[in-house]
Amino acid sequence: MSEVVLALRGVRKRFKDHEVLTGVSLALSRHEVVCLIGASGSGKSTLLRCANLLERIDGGDIELFGQSLLDPRIDPDRVRRHIAMVFQSFNLFPHLSVIDNILLGPVHALKRPRAEVRAEAMELLERIGLAARAQDYPDRLSGGQQQRVAIVRSLAMRPSLLLLDEVTSALDPTLVGEVLDLLTDLARQGTTMLVATHEMGFARDVAHRVAFLESGRVIEEGPAREVLDHPREPATRAFLERVR
């Protein structure tokens, strides 16, 4: 039986007088990959940030392994140690070398011994073929390499869940492939992922389910191929025609 990792129930979020999320409900099971699709401004990024408690929500509930994250006893820092996030603009730390970028979270948030984490980090870098660049600073790497390091940085936290916010949107088209390949590998290994993306090909091939967002709510969701190839809702159909 698949265990529910993350559940959003009627989540609302407003900035000033603009309501970005108008009641989003979504559940994510272990080993599942769910893609969030929708136009820019439909609330995909906000939803991911809310799930990570980087934004305070104005209504609804978020549960991680059945535990409500709105409980006042919750420590957001502890929550975030289980939910890793990768950003559109990488956000690597420019003053730290590649290896120190990866070690920061495990060593200073999880308080794990440096040497132990270091060995793991080198293994992860080996997997993405960047072990030789461990001592380099991020500005020496290409966009695709930086984003792969950012993904490895989040994996080093051994998260239960990976949130990916349009991680290929800031990349040169020739570099998109290497990042998507890494994500495909992760999906095959059973990493639980919630992926906001404009890459419909990736969504179709890798995602188990797809959720279409418009005006801050999930308009349609279902098995990836079903939603992408035979959308039921007119809004989904219109969106898919525009991006095709």
Partner: protein
């Protein structure tokens, strides 16, 4: 007939003008030398040939009086302008260290987010507003003449130089705090998000991600403020501390010659110019690094 989009059938003149060619290469060096000699020589000539030029040279730049002021002669009632600089130097050294620390503390308080720290946030904001708004001279006068009147034992029994130093710390900490704060605010928000998403606390994020980057960007403006602090140690003279400026003042009113001021000015230049050059060097290096990154 060719259409407009084909351009001119005959290539246009691609040569630079005669004047531009003359100024390029070796010609540029000649031009800059000539213009330098003309401008600087012109200014010197005005100074030298002005109707009162000889008087000014005698009263302000006379080598004999300058030397006399530099070494000083307490038996004749005036102090050494050169030795006075030692007072400026220790005031600067102590004030600098304290300003860098206090400024950081004030900036941290102002940037704090915890509700518990609200009063500190309020106080630090008020502090920077007040002490950036009051002329340093007034702060020096108020502390220098105010604290002794309080009869607070140890605190009220310090030398004028100590009060002056304290006043500089009070005033400059406000400026330096704002420099630090600007540096922190210049770090992209994504850095904070990335660090917090790794589960680091606000404090750890500040310490390990934001501040290391912010300090690097604020080094040039910080050095600017420190250069300014070096010069402003002269203001402590109003409290009667015998530092360079005060010594020059005493010299001029004893011997009736102002050459001591020139000595003081030269001494300050000897202090500040290396630091200005160093700051410019850092700014240039930073710029080069940014351009290389882009």
């Amino acid at each position: 007939m060719s259409s407009a989009i084909d351009g001119e059938p005959v290539p246009p003149d691609l040569f630079a003008s005669r004047r531009r060619r003359l100024l390029a290469g070796r010609g540029g060096l000649v031009a800059s030398t000539v213009s330098g000699v003309v401008v600087i020589g012109g200014l010197a000539a005005v100074f030298w040939l002005a109707p009162g030029g000889a008087t000014v040279r005698y009263f302000f730049f006379n080598p004999h009086f300058m030397w006399q002021a530099f070494v000083g002669d307490p038996s004749k009632g005036f102090y050494s302008v050169g030795l006075g600089l030692l007072t400026n130097l220790w005031i600067f050294a102590v004030a600098e260290a304290l300003v860098l620390v206090c400024g950081m503390l004030i900036a941290s308080a102002r940037l704090s987010q915890s509700p518990v720290l609200f009063p500190f946030r309020l106080l630090s904001t008020a502090y920077t507003d007040v002490f950036r708004g009051i002329p340093i001279l007034l702060v020096i006068l108020m502390i220098g003449f105010g604290l002794p009147e309080l009869n607070l034992g140890y605190i009220s029994n310090q030398s004028p130089a100590v009060y002056g130093c304290a006043a500089l710390v009070v005033s400059y900490s406000a400026y330096v705090a704002e420099v630090y704060r600007a540096g922190v605010l210049s770090i992209p928000h994504g850095q904070l998000l990335a660090s917090r998403s790794l589960g680091l606390s606000h404090g750890a994020t500040m310490r390990r991600v934001i501040l290391p980057q912010a300090v690097r960007t604020v080094i040039p403006p910080l050095l600017n403020d420190l250069i300014s602090l070096q010069k402003d140690t002269a203001l402590v003279s109003v409290l009667g501390a015998i530092e360079t400026t005060r010594a020059a003042q005493i010299y001029s009113s004893t011997v009736f010659n102002f050459s001591g001021y020139a000595v003081a000015a030269i001494l300050f230049l000897l202090l500040t110019i290396p630091m200005t050059r160093f700051t410019d060097h850092l700014i240039a290096r930073d710029r080069a690094r940014r351009l290389a990154g882009a």
